[in-house]
């Protein structure tokens, strides 16, 4: 009984090794892709892909922000910025600042994640709408803002300095109705 138990535990240990090693294996090779079919089913089920690429291979050099502009049927406009971690207190950063940063910089700004855009626009509409409940919205525009940290060779930026000016690009328009 003990031997059987040890066998299954050992198999689970090896299974975990396979999960950990996945990121370094050539999965385009038939042997590995077949081997990893059950492993991937498990990792997808729990979302435990282990690439561990914190600040690697290089740290990002770009600050990203996101804003929305809403057009109302009466021709007026208003805008709303998604929370910026840089403007939040430590408590705010812990509560939700990092979540929004992650969502903006690695999620919604990317074209391959365009499935998020409509929901994000509607979310902004709800946020702006809370203060314009008497107006009828017609369009919501989403803007990404970004700034590349200047190269060190162009001079050192003092720690804690906020970027002066961010580039701006409208990447999505949601027609309300």
């Amino acid at each position: 009984m003990v031997k059987v138990k040890k066998f299954f535990i050992s198999a689970f240990i090896v299974f975990n090794f396979l999960i950990m090693a996945r990121v370094h294996l050539p999965l385009d090779v038939k042997f590995f892709s077949t081997l990893y079919a059950p492993v991937d089913t498990y990792t997808r089920f729990f979302s435990t892909f282990q690439d561990w690429m914190m600040f690697a291979p290089n740290p990002s050099r770009t600050n990203y922000e996101l804003s929305a502009e809403i057009e109302f049927t009466d021709g007026s406009r208003d805008s709303w910025s998604f929370p910026k971690a840089s403007e939040l207190s430590i408590v705010g950063k812990y509560f939700y600042g990092e979540r929004y940063r992650k969502f903006i910089s690695e999620g919604v700004r990317k074209h391959e994640n365009n499935f998020m855009w409509k929901d994000t626009a509607r979310f902004a509409l709800r946020m702006i709408g809370e203060t314009h409940y008497n107006k009828i919205p017609s369009k919501v525009h989403l803007y990404r803002h970004w700034e590349d940290v200047p190269l060190l060779s162009d001079g050192m930026r003092t720690h804690g300095t906020r970027p002066d000016k961010l580039s701006k690009f409208r990447f999505f328009t949601h027609e309300v109705m």
Binding site: K6, F55, P59, N63, L152, H159
Partner: protein, 322 residues
């Protein structure tokens, strides 16, 4: 050359030779406490991240995850009532895990709730949460409730004793997992020119949305920045490899704790550093932790013996503390 039999013997000794459970029990308490704090901070996010008016709708998530995955929201919907109830259940499970009441069941429930919340919108999350899920899966299989727990007290009241020495395979897997985190990130960083030329810390600390508290002078001096960049590489490699050697283990654990506290101070990466610090506890040997715990328990017993409470109550409490 290593013979097959020798390999099996070493495997057996490494993963299955019984060790005290106090180490994993202490880790269980710290782990559940951290996750409870995380959940507490998340309560304010019900509307924005989880409810029916969240930044991503449940339908969008469902369309993207077109494969089997754990997410109770697909079963029960994302109404505020469901989200709130799940937070309560999750919190209760973590609290039971913390005090060690029905420990394994509590950890299973906590795992299911945690994964569901995480998969409700995975794009909000980072490495911290991947670690949470990976470790929680392992914790479910551990004997973490066999010591420092209500379960063990209840067993003693029934004149039973839960095993205090168990196979440490879960602890070993957690240790390997920690090493893998450090080694993989070290390996990926070696491919980046900024880590090699010593400027990576400069760029990482200039991301305004990731800056936490100001660090004047230290982060404005190129020589110190380069030292920090290369020091990070050396430390991450050491924490992935040398920490397994007796001679380096304790100094590296303490170096790792200071390293993560430093990042916590400088950068806004909520919970990742705290989680890594908590995980490093697993590199203390279970015997060291047992000795520490027993020393503490002995002091508590001494206080109880010298107290003025009735002898009957004293003996009952002392049984619980054995």
């Amino acid at each position: 050359m290593l013979s097959y039999k020798t390999f099996l013997n070493r495997w057996d000794r490494f993963f299955f030779r019984p060790e005290p459970v106090e180490g994993i029990a202490v880790f269980r308490m710290i782990w559940c406490f951290l996750l409870l704090m995380y959940l507490f901070l998340d309560i304010g996010n019900i509307n924005d991240f989880y409810g029916p008016k969240a930044i991503l709708s449940l339908k969008t998530i469902k369309d993207q995850f077109n494969y089997p995955h754990m997410n109770l929201f697909h079963l029960f919907g994302d109404s505020i009532g469901v989200v709130t109830l799940m937070m309560w259940i999750y919190g209760l499970a973590l609290f039971c895990g913390l005090i060690g009441f029905r420990t394994r069941t509590a950890l299973v429930v906590a795992l299911v709730c945690m994964v569901s919340f995480h998969q409700r919108n995975i794009w909000l999350l980072s490495s911290s949460e991947v670690l949470m899920r990976s470790i929680m899966i392992l914790m479910v299989f551990s004997p973490a409730g066999n010591a420092l727990s209500v379960d063990s007290m209840l067993a003693r009241l029934n004149s039973k004793q839960l095993p205090r020495d168990c196979s440490p395979w879960v602890v070993r897997l957690i240790q390997i997992q920690i090493s893998v985190v450090y080694l993989w990130t070290f390996w990926h960083k070696l491919k980046g020119d900024q880590w090699i030329d010593g400027t990576a810390v400069y760029y990482a600390t200039r991301l305004s949305n990731m800056t936490n508290l100001p660090v004047p002078i230290l982060l404005d001096n190129l020589f110190l920045i380069k030292l920090m960049t290369w020091g990070t590489l050396i430390l991450e490699f050491s924490l992935g490899t040398l920490v397994w050697f007796k001679e380096f283990r304790k100094p590296l654990i303490f170096a790792g704790v200071f390293f993560h506290l430093g990042i916590e101070y400088m950068m806004s990466i909520p919970f990742f550093e705290l989680i890594m610090i908590a995980l490093l506890i697993n590199f203390f040997s279970p015997i060291e932790i047992r000795d520490y715990v027993m020393g503490y328990v002995a002091r508590v017993k001494e206080v109880i013996r010298s107290s003025t409470i009735t002898d009957d109550l004293k003996s009952r409490i002392l049984i619980l503390l054995n």
